[in-house]
């Protein structure tokens, strides 16, 4: 009996393959976007975790020195005073970050390298082993030290034993900083009594990187959820339709004595199977999405935070499981109402499909109430809340509130339109559109969310880009940059150049350890170029004047953030302390930077002379000068940088960093379009009783089809108009709340009306594309099918 019932139920899909397709595709798309985003997130997080474990940052307290290094003798003295510290040495080997740790004392071992191999451990401790990803290992020369490709080490980092690192970096008996194990012996002597020159830094409660990138991931997750929600709208529609259309079969089966419980169970199993299949397809698709997006994500993150993420994707079992779970869960959510109704359906209920999507007026009122409450909550959170959580809470309340409010608002707008209608067609069009609203509102909500996200994120990205372009203009003020290979050449170059250009600005720099962090100290010539073009994010009064007088330094934001330095704090290098007078944005630079005046720099580092020069000149003459330099000095191409070129390059890097948001925007919009399509298809069958009288009174089917398209465009346009303020509110939250948390500063918000217009255009295109097929289907409905509406046999 079960088999017969199952066959009867399944025959529905055979007769309605498009419906099955919708169900599977909708669920697959939803799962794909969700699991794709999750995959990208998981991959990026795994990279951060590797980095965080590598660095031991955040998780453990650290001891650093104002002079940047700690002697090994001090380390031993601390151990002997009961401090369970572990040494870390950091430096650059062929430009790659080399980190030396002591596996025996480090609270995290030399994670993420698992030491389960005795022979390897002995080699590492006595002879030296370098652990890094294969890509990283490929970038370093041969040092006569065994190398082991280790995929879990953060990209761009080599891990090794502290002794090996000291040897390779030629820094005997020197350490960069100490990690403090959480365990503290009872008789530990206070740090100030042992090593007053060292500073204990408390654990940061989650790594810097984690905190910085959390909001980015949160953004991605929000996108993933949004996409999934949009997909679930589709699934809900498809399942609802399938249930409606199977009512006659179900009624017949029950009339023939098939138990209701078993029927519900059968349908449940059927949905489970479908959701598992669709979930598997979705996870597979998600993998592809993630693989396609990951290089961009890697670029985005390394561009934004100076943190590399490995560009390859690994299949992690948790995606599969979570992807399948969310597919099944989503299906259950979407099907719950239909199954509930089925379970309660009286045996002799009409087999005729009801207009299931139509909502009672009371439901509408409740929905409006919830929407208003959520919007008020969003306002309160925006007014009183602070921090990332409040920011995202506000976003959620705003988006959900607005989505719930959408049908109510559209209904009022359409009622207004109807009141203005002059012709009978217009009157019917408005009225009929209004009547269709409940059936389309889920899809329109999806469109609203997709578009608002699109407006919000593109506003944020474009505002960021505009700010960044201005920043580049500030930072790359010279038209041409030249790098000498050695001091002799530098001198000759300078002599040569000074007669040919407006001004030669030597750029002298030296690597220093500032509070345990590798940094570069610059000593630019005091020149109006800098005074004019360097803008501080945060500065003491008369900062440039004081810096030029040699009484202080400016540092980049990265250093300020990582070492927790504020205006007025002192930093020490080359044995002297300087107050920090200014903090400047230094987009994309992974390491710390300090700027002091040229005279002070020469005082501190007399042995360092400038090998780099910024050159002020007519931009048009740059290519000619480059040729001259190449011929006269044999200067390599890499030693000369044309400002125009570097700006273009920087901008391209920058733009690449945001392609992922663009890609997600397009995908989300596409999914919303699919939702509209499926809603229209779903409505098409039930709409015949509404359309048949109009047709019978003298409208062609073709005209009815056209009106369907116009209606979709109208609804999309109205939704777009409503999405704009919502998107701008989203953008404001991202810039003024989330961005402050993630990037540390508030970005000015710019408006991009052309972008919004284009977006509205996209929405209309999506609506047209989505309504084309249903409209065509309607235009080709057989008259006999329309006439059936009126006949008694229905």
């Amino acid at each position: 009996m079960t088999k017969a019932g199952l066959l009867a139920l399944l025959s529905h899909w055979r007769r309605n393959p498009v419906q099955l397709f919708t169900l599977v595709v909708g669920l697959s798309l939803a799962t794909a976007l969700w699991s794709g985003v999750q995959a990208v997130n998981a991959e990026a997080r795994a990279s951060y975790d590797a980095a965080a474990e590598t660095l031991g940052e955040g998780q453990f307290a650290q001891i650093t020195s104002d002079i940047g290094t700690i002697s090994q003798a001090d380390y031993i003295a601390l151990r002997r005073a009961g401090w369970l510290v572990s040494p870390v040495i950091e430096g650059r080997l062929d430009g790659v970050r080399l980190i030396g740790l002591d596996a025996l004392t480090s609270p995290g071992g030399i994670a993420p390298v698992g030491l389960n191999d005795g022979a390897m451990t002995i080699d590492m401790l006595t002879a030296g082993v370098l652990f890094a990803t294969q890509d990283t290992l490929d970038n370093i020369a041969e040092y006569g030290v065994q190398t082991v490709a280790s995929p879990d080490v953060a990209p761009g980092v080599i891990l090794t034993d502290v002794g090996t690192a000291q040897r390779l970096l030629d820094m005997p008996d020197v350490l960069s900083r100490l990690i403090v194990a959480p365990s503290r012996p009872l008789t530990q002597i206070p740090l100030g009594d042992v090593m007053p020159n060292l500073t204990l830094r408390a654990p940061q409660g989650g790594s810097d990187l984690g905190r910085l990138t959390d909001s980015f991931h949160l953004n991605l997750t929000a996108f993933g959820l949004l996409s999934f929600a949009v997909g679930i709208f589709i699934v809900h529609g498809a399942i609802g339709l399938a249930f409606e259309q199977r009512r006659p079969v179900i009624r017949t089966l029950r009339a023939l004595g098939f138990p209701l419980g078993r029927l519900v169970a059968l349908i449940g199993v059927e949905l489970l199977v479908i959701s598992l299949v669709a979930g598997a397809i979705g996870v597979g698709l998600g993998y592809l999405v993630a693989a396609a997006l990951l290089p961009d994500v890697a670029a985005t993150i390394s561009g934004l935070y100076g943190q590399s993420v490995s560009g390859t994707l690994q299949l992690r079992p948790e995606w599969w499981v979570s992807g399948l779970l969310i597919a099944v869960g989503g299906t259950a959510m979407a099907a719950a109402a239909s199954l509930w109704q089925l379970a309660r359906m009286p045996l002799l209920a009409s087999a005729r499909p009801r207009a299931w999507a139509m909502q009672a007026g009371q439901g509408r009122l409740l929905q409006a109430g919830v929407a208003v409450a959520l919007l008020i909550l969003a306002g309160v959170l925006g007014w009183l809340g602070s921090g990332l959580v409040a920011g995202f809470g506000m976003l959620a309340a705003l988006l959900i509130g607005a989505a719930l409010a959408l049908p109510v608002v559209l209904d009022r707008v359409l009622a207004f339109g109807a009141a203005q209608a002059k012709s009978v067609m217009a009157e019917w069009f408005w009225a009929d559109t209004r009547q269709q609203l409940p059936g389309l509102s889920l899809a329109l909500m999806a469109l609203l969310l997709a578009m608002a996200a699109n407006v919000g994120v593109s506003t944020m990205v474009s505002s960021f880009r505009l700010t960044f372009t201005g920043f580049l203009d500030q930072r790359l003020a010279s038209e041409f940059y030249v790098y000498a290979d050695d001091e002799e050449q530098a001198l000759a170059l300078r002599t040569f150049l000074e007669t040919r250009v407006d001004k030669v600005l030597p750029i002298q720099s030296v690597e220093q350890n500032i509070r345990g962090l590798q940094s570069e100290v610059f000593g630019p010539t005091a020149h109006e170029t800098y005074r004019d073009n360097w803008l501080f994010l945060n500065a003491a009064p008369n900062a440039w004047g004081d810096i030029e007088n040699g009484v202080g330094a400016a540092i980049n934001e990265q250093l300020a953030r990582r070492a927790d330095i504020d205006i007025g704090d002192e930093i020490t290098f080359s044995g002297r302390s300087f107050p920090v007078l200014g903090i400047y944005g230094d987009y994309g630079n992974p390491i710390g930077q300090v700027i002091v005046t040229k005279t002070l720099f020469e005082d501190l580092f007399p042995a360092v002379s400038a090998l780099r020069f910024g050159i002020r000149m007519d931009a048009d003459d740059v290519p000619a000068l480059a040729i001259e330099l190449r011929e006269t000095f044999g200067l390599a191409e890499a030693n000369m940088i044309n400002q125009a070129g570097i700006k273009a390059f920087s901008l391209s890097v920058f733009d690449r960093t945001f392609t992922i948001t663009g890609a997600l925007n397009v995908l989300t919009l596409a999914v919303a379009g699919f939702a509209i399509l499926m809603s229209l298809l779903t409505l098409a069958t039930m709409r015949l009783p509404q359309l048949a009288p109009v047709w019978a009174q003298g409208l062609t089917r073709a005209r009815l089809g056209q009106i369907e398209i116009i209606r979709a465009v109208l609804l999309a346009l109205l939704t777009a108009v409503l999405a704009l303020p919502l998107g701008l509110a989203l953008a404001w939250t991202l810039l003024a709340v989330v961005n402050v948390e993630a990037f540390g500063w508030r970005l000015p918000m710019f408006l991009f009306p052309l972008d919004y217009a284009r977006l509205a255009g996209f929405a209309v295109v999506a609506a047209v594309l989505a309504s084309l097929w249903p409209a065509r289907k309607l235009a080709r409905t057989r008259p006999a099918d329309l006439l059936k509406v009126f006949s008694n046999e229905r």
């Binding site: 002997r80 071992g109 030491l115 005795g118 451990t121 002995i122 401790l125 034993d161 012996p185």
Partner: protein, 344 residues
Amino acid sequence: MNARIFPLLLLPVTASAQGFAGLGADSDGFSTPQEPAIFDFPSDHGPHDDYRIEWWYLTANLEAEDGTPYGLQWTLFRSALTPNGGEGWSSPQFWMGHAAVTTTDEHFVTERLARGGIGQAGVTAEPFEAWIDDWQLTGLDFDTLQMTASGPDFAYDMALNAQGPIVFHGADGYSVKSAAGQASYYYSQPFYDIQGTLSLPDGDVAVRGQAWLDREWSSQPLSDDQTGWDWFSLSLGDGKLMGFRLRQTDGTFYTSATWIEPDGVTTAYPDGAFDAQPLSRVSVAGRSVPTQWRVTLPDRGVDVTVQAINDAAWMDTSVPYWEGPVTVTGTHDGVGYLEMTGYE
């Protein structure tokens, strides 16, 4: 993570685990103990880097003024990866410190690990100084020592005074560990009076009692068919008894014992003279461990029951084992220490 490393360091490069903590490993390249044992003090109180494994192992039975019993352990292990090697960080010498305090209902343990060659841990013979991090066992000579150790939940600070001579086990300090002839150099100072302060979560406790310091070094102290040992150091009314039994894979035992008279005169007993049989077992750290024993040495009329003061004296360290204070009843009454290794 690092807790897993030390056992790895005890392994030779190619072999899998052999015997307890790899102590049955080959001695390739390392020096091996030779008979007759000839000691040179004070330098032999210091380390012997050309031997694979060495320890300075102190246990003490203590009493508070109210008679409450305590046990205390201070141990420094040296392990060499290779017989000779580099300096500084490249040194093949590794150090492991274990400190513990046992009360009747609690057992505090902590561990330290250190690389040799950088000064974090080591031993010098004269003046005598053994240390790892902030733990120390130091004195102008071996007879008068100060001892400290500290963990997250306990610490102690002790003074030790030897009341008798150093005693040698086996053949004048050449202690055979198996029928195949594996041996170690092994001597003890069992006559320390000890007093000082234990710092425990409930507060400081002034204690005094008796301590026993073992010195042993070797390159292959166990044969590869030996899986662990049960070692007793007992202070009885008319003398002290050191006895151990090595458990072998075929179910037999290899035993050895030394009877120490109050003036330090020793009698060494060969395999079979000393016997120890488990009377009852308890479950500790997921293992079944015998904490009550019948110990016999018929030649001295010893037939006693040895009972752990605290069954849970498990050393949850990189190389885990059981080590704790015991009471002795039977033909003789007294106190002592029990060490059991290789219970997996």
